[in-house]
Amino acid sequence: MQKIEFAQIQETLFYEKLPNGLHVYILPKQGFSKTYATFTTKYGSVDNTFQVPGKEKISVPDGIAHFLEHKMFEQPSGEDVFQEFSRQGASANAFTSFTRTAYLFSCTDHVDKNLTTLLDFVQSPHFTDENVEKEKGIIGQEIRMYDDNPDWRSYFGLIEAMYQKHPVKIDIAGTVESIAQINKELLYTCYETFYHPSNMLLFVVGAVDPERTMTLIRENQAAKKFEQQAEIVRFFDEEPDEVAQPLNEMKLSVGISKCLFGFKEGKAWTQVEGEAALKQELATQIVLEALVGPATELYQSLYDEGLIDDNFGFDYSLESGFGFSMMGGDTPNPDRLLERIREELPKKIDQGISQDTFDRIRKKKIGSNLRYLNSPEWIANQFTSYQFKGVDLFRIIPMLEELTLADVNERMKEHIDWSRFAVSLVRPLG
């Protein structure tokens, strides 16, 4: 077991790669009552075309990674695993993103039992024709719930506007029609491809003793048999740099328009990994903060003009194969808001970001990072997501300290490319 110390933030991380390929990380949190654990596979909604080593290339129905996540809770005994977690006083859950499926629990007691339950249920699938059919009704209602959520619709609307080919444009839960095609055989195929320990990461954070916990995990895994697995091959169609459509507009039952806009990352900048990816991500976040953050003249004037309100936000996503910035929120006049953005951003890009602004934002980001480190959930989820792209979460503060003004100004020029600009607009009905 490796021990990695981070002196400035006063945290210690323990790591071991098990013989079956599973990556295990443990972060003890002094004074905490709870333990939070995530068991995550590098498999999400975008992994829809792949090749099982030694078999033929296949494409699977939209929404299957998420469907599989739901069905993992089913047990051979007929009892769903929530029951067992509840008996052990744990709160369990799972989620599926574009690139990951995570199973998790938090508890303040019976950590060993809960950890064992987590490892065992994710490593023993039990799908039947009957339980697969039954889930279609439940997931159908989950899809309907998102259909009624205008924030989700406008978020996805922007991704659809940006992407022509890449499966990131497909809704994570799929559609009622696509999930109708899912059966237990397909679920097993996906499971066997992506749930091998070598494609997974276990993160435990909180009130644990690292030695004891690692021993438990090691023994649990050693008692199970896994065939050696060759590398999984994933296929993605070539994604052009151009956006699919500059404007994606829809009408929904809302009281006020929703307007999201952003820049699609050019291909060259979606192939980065490790330190380069972290640097690009942090630099882009600083760029967005400098352009449209709450402490900018632009934000304040848009706010005073009543074009934005305090739910205006911005974010940057970067994964292998896709990346984009996203800005916006509710607005009574989206056309005027977009006009102002198109007018003002080029001026700011010409001027460049000043040293003062850069220093202020960097300070802000360092402070925010300390705040996030209070959250076991954030640590486990963010660490895993970063690790899957070869990035080290605990390098954020040092990287922020290393970044220079020149890096950030350079990044701004790369990212703000109006030929890759797209808008998603939700307007009120009638």
Binding site: S86, S91, P150, S253, D310, D330, K364
Partner: protein, 423 residues
């Protein structure tokens, strides 16, 4: 169990509660200012937190205020209103990095506390009022906030259900206020109201972090001196017992893809009652968790919904059930939910459900200790109830609850209103 007890010190008529803890890398300050929930003040109270966050005497423009926060290592400032029973609470918070984790150890505790009290007590003004431009802009924002309630159909349905169920009671009011009041509300009137609020409403100030109580109280003493004199109102509990004469069914129509079903019940049990821990267990068995009756029967057995749960509004004695269903399944869902309420009344509860609920509730309460805001929230609940119940007392009380206790509580619960939002 780690120490999770706040030390309370009165500075004049303001209560200061401090919890020194080494586990957080930030220091959190929260202030609660409690107004009565009533039609005459609901909109003014809702508007105040937004206006106070626009500028202070030392940072009169919003841009200066935001830059100040960034310079304090990205301190987070927030302010909002919430409805707790028939109290309309203003909640303000400031969370700031603890300097011991920074390379250049700036005096962030003092600066943060100083700025926080300035936001509360020394706002930017002009003439005899707040800055008029801030008030006008925030009125517009509040109007949008009220109008955009219908964008989130789940929240909209929950609010509509409460409006119908509690018609004529203060609790029916929306915490963000009423559109009709906004038009004529001016900067001077709002400022006069603000001065009255900070002079007469109860104020509780919290601090959680790697600090000492003496240090925090010392820093606050001078800063609070001018505010902390005179008499403040005290918290009283909303009436909870209310006999249901007949079950109401209300149907609203909007353009929705999924029907939102909300059912409101009166528990007839006060938060201060000896039956309250049994009510908490009751809610857990009925609909608080994935092992609960609602989740198992509505979702897992009947496949009718993705979510179906219940929650308590403890300070008003309400129990609310919510689910999202296919519109055609309304009657089936209502029938299954009613069967579960009946099963609770009849005592069709097995030992496993009771034990699972106690274990998950215990866990949920203990987990609160790892979040500064939840520690504060839990303590302030006692302040609002006017009766302290510590975490340890609550945990012990839950352990003692028997199936008979749950049934006794169940028999008091009355279904009041069935609300359905459909296309």
């Amino acid at each position: 169990m780690a120490n999770n007890h706040f030390e309370t010190v009165s500075i004049g008529n303001i209560q200061v509660h401090v919890l020194p803890s080494t586990k957080f890398k930030t220091t959190t300050f929260v202030a609660y200012i409690g107004q009565e929930l009533k039609p005459e003040t609901v909109t003014k109270t809702a508007l105040l937190p937004a206006v106070l966050q626009r500028g202070t005497q030392s940072t009169p423009t919003t841009i200066e205020l935001k830059r100040k926060l960034d310079d304090l290592y990205g301190a987070i400032l927030f302010g909002d209103v919430s409805k707790r029973g028939e109290r309309h609470l203003m909640e303000f918070g400031l969370e700031i990095a603890n300097e011991r984790y920074l390379q250049d150890k700036p005096a962030l505790l003092e600066e943060g506390l100083s700025f926080f009290t300035e936001v509360l007590f020394a706002p930017a003004t002009e003439g005899n009022g707040f800055k008029a431009s801030y008030v006008e802009a925030e009125k517009k924002n509040l109007k949008q906030k009220i109008e955009s309630l219908q964008d989130d159909k789940i929240r909209y349905a929950a609010q509509r259900m409460v409006e119908e169920m509690c018609k004529g009671e203060p609790y029916a009011l929306f915490n963000h206020g009423r559109l009709a009041d906004l038009e004529q509300l001016g900067a001077t009137e709002l400022y006069t109201y603000y001065q009255d609020v900070i002079r007469t409403c109860p104020i509780d100030l919290y601090c959680v972090g790697n600090v000492s109580t003496e240090q925090v109280v010392e820093l606050l003493r001078d800063r609070l001196a001018s505010q902390a004199t005179g008499q403040r109102k005290t918290y009283t509990l909303a009436p909870v017992v209310r006999e249901v004469k007949e079950e109401k069914v209300v149907v609203d129509r909007l353009n929705v893809k999924q029907g939102k079903l909300n059912i409101g019940c009166r528990t007839q049990t006060e938060i201060t009652s000896n039956d309250y821990p049994a009510l908490v267990v009751y809610n857990g068995i009925l609909g608080g968790f994935p092992h609960s009756k609602l989740f198992r029967n509505v979702r897992e057995k009947a496949s009718l919904a993705y979510y179906c749960s219940s929650r308590l509004e403890s300070l008003k004695g309400l129990l609310m059930i919510q689910s999202g269903i296919e519109i055609g399944n309304f009657q089936r869902a209502v029938d299954i939910i009613k069967e579960q309420l009946e099963a609770m009344r009849q005592g069709r509860i097995d030992q496993q459900e009771l034990e699972q609920t106690k274990a998950t509730l215990t866990n949920a309460y203990k987990e609160q200790q790892d979040r500064s805001y939840e520690l504060i929230h839990f303590h302030h609940q006692s302040v609002l109830a006017g009766q302290e119940r510590t975490l340890e007392q609550m945990l012990q009380a839950i352990q003692r609850v028997s199936i008979e206790d749950v049934v006794r509580v169940a028999q008091k619960v009355q279904l009041d209103t069935i609300y359905f939002l459909r296309d």
